[in-house]
């Protein structure tokens, strides 16, 4: 179906790209806020590398990449959370283990798939392929985005309480383990949804850069939520237009737009100035 949208979104493929991009651009920063608050800004990268292992495994056996990537990233997210909360491995080391383990597994599996004579092209998964998204893929991305928004509507306050102070939240009676697990799975969902749009190597940028920009401008958590979503959505729209005009890779341009917002926020935002008691 072709909607009567003006240039540059008059073509069907641009409209599909726009819908998928808006879904991801709007929701990735929402999950990113909690990830940034917990000082796990690189979580998205770690999960992206795990998802790559899932994509390569799917290519090897000839399965659909998105569901396999979602499963591998989801299980990996829970494992990272488990390692982190057990205190046996620090958060960044737990991430590094999965980060490199995932990438190496993906490289081995993709190599194996190529050796068996299948046509293996991992570039669209690594750098995004938003202009070739099929309606089915866009529906899947929209479904993931809806689940993320619904979960955050219900559990956003509790996730904030846990992100602010895990011990205080646990003592106050919140199910901290369950909420942490939910956030890990949401992050895995974002990574797989964004895989299509900006690619696994740039997934974390959409979770973190809009939040980094918003936190320099906003003065409340609520405002940060809205502001980061606006930056994410704006980056997608501007990025798609610029990519079409200049015939550039849309995933990279979208992330560069977010990075530009972050850089500009330094001029707009006021530095926090502690006041005297």
């Amino acid at each position: 179906m072709n909607l009567p949208l003006p240039w540059p979104f008059e073509r069907n493929y641009m409209q599909l790209a726009l819908v998928a991009g808006l879904m991801v651009g709007g929701t990735a920063p929402l999950v990113g806020i909690f990830v940034v608050q917990r000082r796990l800004a690189l979580l998205g990268d770690g999960l992206g590398h795990l998802a790559f292992a899932g994509v390569a495994a799917a290519l090897l056996v000839g399965a659909a990449p998105v569901p396999v990537a979602l499963g591998v990233a989801g299980v990996g997210a829970l494992a990272i959370e488990r390692l982190r909360s057990s205190g046996r491995v620090s958060g960044d080391l737990a991430l590094a283990l999965f980060f490199y383990g995932g990438l190496a597994t993906g490289a081995v599996l993709a190599g194996r798939a190529a050796a068996t004579g299948r046509s293996v092209n991992v570039v669209p998964y690594l750098f995004g392929s938003i202009l070739t998204a099929t309606p089915t893929e866009v529906v899947l991305v929209a479904g993931l985005a809806l689940v993320i928004v619904a979960t955050l509507t219900v559990a956003g306050r509790a996730l904030l309480a846990v992100a602010l102070d895990e011990d205080a939240a646990r003592v106050s009676g919140l199910p901290v383990e369950g909420l942490n697990a939910a956030l890990a799975v949401l992050a895995a969902g974002v990574v797989v949804a964004a895989m299509q749009v900006v690619g696994l190597l740039l997934v974390a940028a959409l979770m973190v850069l809009p939040v980094a920009a918003a936190r320099r401008v906003a003065r409340s958590f609520r405002a940060t939520v809205w502001c980061s979503a606006v930056v994410g959505v704006g980056s997608v729209i501007v990025g798609l237009v610029v990519a079409r005009v200049g015939d550039l890779a849309p995933g990279g341009v979208i992330v560069l737009c977010s990075a530009a917002c972050f850089a500009l926020s330094g001029f707009v935002g006021r530095p926090a100035r502690p006041q005297r008691a």
């Binding site: 608050q37 219900v154 956003g156 904030l160 602010l164 106050s172 958590f221 609520r222 008691a277």
Partner: protein, 268 residues
């Protein structure tokens, strides 16, 4: 996520009704180890509802470890009952609140004073429900108790150190807990904030029937209001009214570096 500011109203005393007559804390032979080191050694501790107890001792004497053991945040030997139930059950029932040591009030992501305080309210109700007027009133009440009403909409990062500590205390008060545990909440806090803090704790114990366990080096501000002082040096070396300490020639406004000398006065 909107926090509306409405006039404070009287709040129910949910915690005390639930807690009944069972002691707020009943700990028997609590022993905690770090590897081979025994940090808390066979400690017995009993705190009645609405009792105001201070836990003092030199650095490394096991105060924070004991507090975490009482709240079930750290596995230790011995038994702990809070209001006649396990620490996990007491937490689930919304009876307990905690101000952790060196808690960070200012988040990485901006949040207002009211937003941070509201985060403490979720456990006392079904956390997934929308905020009701009673919850908003509880936030206002907690902000009033620590005199931060005027700063409710300010980003926490813009507050002074003393004000940020008060935000954390308000976050603990807002669930109207039946037992409040505070781990060095006023370390390095100015005199005005300490007075506000004392008034808030006195209000809690007198009007809400809350039991308070306060770990602090700096007790001069609250000395006159304490029911009991427990001195810990891995074991309990003193447990009695503050007057008992004064009789032994020790005073409660003690700085950490003076504590060894101070403890000698106890003959512990």
């Amino acid at each position: 996520m909107r926090i509306r500011v409405t006039p404070a109203s009287d709040l129910g005393v949910a915690g005390t009704a639930e807690s009944g007559r069972a002691p707020a804390v009943e700990a028997t032979a609590v022993t905690c180890r770090f590897g081979a080191d025994v940090v808390v050694d066979a400690v017995d501790l009993r705190i009645a509802p609405s009792e105001f107890v201070a836990l003092v001792g030199p650095n490394g004497s096991g105060k924070s470890t004991l507090a975490r053991a009482l709240l079930g945040l750290r596995p230790c030997d011995g038994t702990v009952r809070l209001f006649g139930r396990s620490p996990a059950a007491a937490r689930r029932d919304g009876l307990v609140a905690f101000v952790p040591q060196r808690g960070r009030a200012a988040p990485v992501v901006p949040a207002t004073v009211a937003e941070v305080v509201a985060a403490g309210r979720l456990g006392a109700r079904r956390w997934w429900r929308r905020f009701h007027p009673a919850d908003v009133a509880a936030v206002d009440h907690a902000l009033e108790a620590v005199a931060l009403t005027d700063l409710a909409r300010r980003p926490v990062a813009e507050l002074s150190g003393g004000q940020q500590q008060r935000v954390l205390i308000a976050r603990a008060l807002v669930s109207d807990p039946a037992l409040l545990v505070l781990d060095e909440p006023v370390a390095g806090v100015d005199a005005t904030s300490q007075r506000r803090f004392r008034d808030a704790l006195v209000h809690l114990t007198r009007h809400h029937g809350t039991a308070v366990l306060l770990i602090s080096h700096e007790l001069s501000a609250v000395a006159s209001e304490l029911d009991r002082v427990v001195v810990l040096r891995h074991r309990v070396v003193f447990d009695g009214p503050p007057g008992g300490l004064t009789e032994r020639g020790v005073h409660l406004g003690v700085h950490p570096e003076d504590l060894p000398v101070w403890l000698e006065g106890l003959g512990g």
